[in-house]
């Protein structure tokens, strides 16, 4: 069983996000990067499948500038076997078709049984890269997977539907699955894993030239028309004002 896991590096949820003066992207120098949340779950799922089968290979593939080797190393430390880094420096690349075609290019020669990706990237949130790759490669696809069961020549996934509904879908291999958060408990890298990762292969490849079919014109802070009453002061004053708001404005007691 050969499994590709797409792992993206994105700003952490508490990172500052200063907008560049040309309003085309954020200032990457000040950002604290982490592994995309759903990708972390996708990686864990792939590692567990390999471990339960007792054979196979988990290959991490990431697209982006040199800085992304930090999450690649992290994935290798957690137990991925090797990695492919499609090195691309351009910021604010937001065209998922172009992104997917870079991945397809390196995957074509690999022959993966499974492609696991996160449901959605926490920076640009296009929510489609895994499905695009699957379709471009003629694989079966399923998104919003919250459970997987691998059998002989197939994978069954439990999909999350809206409003508390679910559905099991069986896909013959090869298949591309987009993983939703929460389906397992992602591991932390062990010290041994961190040491071992240094020896694992990261193959760096060049992207092909693609034309973007959608481009970012401008990025900006949302402007709210909502009038939020801000409760300010020292902690004790905030407590007092909150209770006053509960009593006199919201009238809960």
């Amino acid at each position: 069983m050969k499994i590709a896991v797409l792992v993206k590096q994105v700003p952490g949820s508490e990172s500052p996000l200063p907008i560049n003066s040309d309003q085309k992207w954020v200032d990457e120098n000040t950002i604290a990067y982490i592994m995309n949340e759903s990708d972390n779950y996708a990686l864990e799922e792939a590692l567990q499948i390999r471990e339960s089968k007792g054979e196979g290979e988990v290959v991490v593939i990431s697209l982006g500038p040199v800085r992304i080797q930090k999450v690649i190393r992290e994935a290798l430390a957690k137990g991925a076997d090797r990695a492919i880094h499609i090195q691309m420096d351009s910021e604010s690349e937001i065209d998922p078709l172009s992104t997917a075609s870079h991945f397809v290019n390196v995957m074509k020669v690999e022959g993966f049984d499974l492609v696991f990706s996160g449901l959605q990237s926490d920076d640009i949130g296009m929510g489609q890269t895994g499905v695009l790759i699957g379709e471009l490669m003629g694989m079966a696809t399923a998104s919003l997977a919250i459970k997987t069961e691998v059998g002989d020549g197939y994978i069954k996934v439990k999909r999350e539907l809206e409003a508390g509904w679910f559905q099991w879908v069986k896909l013959s291999l090869p298949a591309s699955i987009s993983i939703q958060s929460g389906l397992n408990t992602p591991r932390y890298p062990s010290l041994k894993g961190i040491m071992g990762a240094k020896k694992k292969e990261i193959k760096v490849v060049e992207p092909n030239k693609n034309e973007s079919k959608q481009t970012l014109e401008k990025i900006y802070l949302p402007n709210s028309d909502k009038q939020t009453v801000m409760i300010e002061g020292s902690i004790d004053q905030m407590v007092e004002k909150l209770i006053d708001t509960f009593r006199n404005n919201i009238k809960i007691f």
Binding site: P96, G125, M139, T141, G164, L171, G182, E217, I219, I250
Partner: protein, 321 residues
Amino acid sequence: MKTLIILEDNNGKIHRMGLESIVAAQKIASALKGSIQAVVIGQNADTLADEAASYKLDEVIKIKDPLLDNYSADGYAEAVKQVIDQENPDYVLFGHSYQVRDYAPKVSAKLMKPFLVDNVAVSIDNGKVVLTKQMFNAKLFSDIKTNGDSPFLISFQSAAFSSDAANKGSAVIKELNINIEASMIKTESEAPFKEQAGGIDLTAADLIVSVGRGIGKEENIPIAQDLATALGAELASSRPVVDAGWLPSAHQVGSSGQSVSPKMYLALGISGAIQHMVGMKGSKNIVAINKDPEAPIFEVADYGVVADVLELVPKLTEALQ
């Protein structure tokens, strides 16, 4: 200029997000002087077509085929692709539902045309459509433009438009033939099922204290629970709290959890991602406590406190007791 809307079947009724995309289509069509067609697919196509025909559209297109009776990503993607091939629209609109997330990217790959997802607004600049999309989990907004030739696939976020604003009218209905073979469908789907929510019904709660990742760790959950108890409120949470196993899934509010509308929703350390907001926007009073003054939750909050929940909440609980 032609706009095509793909309407989703929600148990024999048009999915609310479909009605919202009718509003978007009417906005685009009136600005660019174009026509609107709506597409309904599957075993409920007849009923859906009748419902769709009561809106101000030019035409409703019915797609029926035994292979489309039940949803499959491959079947739906192929059907929509063939409609696009036959009708040549410039813009193809969807609601950004879970079903659309599952199959619409396949249409994009088949046509090699971009799928611009999850937009919150649309405007027209020099005869071209400009879309507004949230990025970085709603902390920033972006304007996105399309390049190259149409068609462009576009989806809108839940509640980007109010479905009440869809203009009524009457449209003609036609049936379109498409060509689908069983071999095109690479998946086998079982029937959808609902999972027991596990006891708590947040939908009827009058007061809710909801806890997000900002609470920091499992050991801190009692801080939120104590406040809920002091207020006589139910305890709810965002998804990461459930994903991490700090609370059972029955507590989750949002697009994959419960939708609530209490008199007061008190959010502790919740950033305000759209998938959470859709579940709690209907609350009469939203109070948010978050240490980040820029957190998107303050966009919907009636009352906001910029503070560390670990510091403020125990004091608040104490004062209430």
